[in-house]
Amino acid sequence: MAGPEQFHSRIRAQTVRNPQVTASMSADDLLAQVMQRNDKIQSPVVVAAEQSAPLGIDRLSECMRESALSVFSKMCGIELTLSETIKGPSPVRHALSGIVGMSGAMKATTVINISEELAFAVAEAFTGERPTKIDSDLIDLIGELANMVGGNAKERLSTPSLSLGLPTVVTGEGHCIAFSPDMQLSTLQFDTPHGPLRIELGASEQKNRS
């Protein structure tokens, strides 16, 4: 690596490289823009839920439903239709699962379970290339999908002290995923033009709500 003087000289050169392209938004404007976007995604259901319902499986389920609809629509152009909500684990598991956890104010686990066909369609929508097999790129994609769905749901919960973990991906038809025994479970089943999607949720009720 170059010495400090060369490094700083190169950095100084970068700042004048394209003087026409400079920050065009003030800090206040940028903050207002992001907060305006956040206000839009706070649905009336979530707002009402904040006022009375405890932080648990029902609120998580609603926020996850809205998040999945938003992520698949915006990022992939794939419309989801919720066909069923099951109080319990999924009776079926497809080839790929993206798993992400939440901790802090609530302990939760989310499993985005997706068939190969739907995963290939999502990959094609994201990257313009349709894969022909489950490879490292597709696994990366499922992890990113779980990250986005979980992250967007976390925002909708609008709860401080809630952290999202890094995603994990599991592959193989019929693979097993065990939830913590203290969790309440729920499964959202969606239909799509490319096959079904299931989102399994596990959540521990918030204990001491102020």
């Binding site: 490289r17 392209v21 940028l30 903050l31 938003s70 990022m75 313009g128 790129d137 999202l164």
Partner: protein
């Protein structure tokens, strides 16, 4: 026009590179985390940096702070799921130029890039 894309997800780097291509930018360097991003950044001049927040080794906020500490005012766009007000304020205080919350429509990303890409 040379752009650095920093994200631990290869898929997101591809999506962003595609959007950059649609804006006419083909000279794109990539890094898989903030530490690698800083190494690449210090090796050659860039016109724009696009970074994720949550990454191993060094996250996007730490990368942003390192870039600003070096004296560079290169535009930095944060593309992330982190939309909480406290996080956004933290990024602004660290000197972020623009901010895009996932999920986003690809047109949103292209609109952001159009502002900072002078091809």
């Amino acid at each position: 026009m040379k752009v650095l894309v920093v994200d631990d997800s290869g898929v997101m780097r591809k999506i962003i590179a595609r959007s950059l291509g649609a804006c006419g930018v083909t000279d794109v360097a990539e890094a898989g985390d903030g530490r690698e991003g800083m190494e690449v950044f210090s090796g050659e001049p860039f016109d724009l940096v696009i970074t994720d927040w949550n990454m191993p080794e060094m996250n996007g906020l730490e990368l942003l702070k390192a870039i600003r500490s070096s004296g560079s005012s290169v535009p930095v766009i944060m593309v992330t799921t982190e939309g909480e007000k406290e996080k956004v304020v933290e990024a602004i205080q660290a000197g972020v130029t623009d901010y895009l919350c996932k999920p986003f429509e690809q047109d949103e990303l292209r609109d952001k890039l159009d502002k900072y890409v002078a091809v």
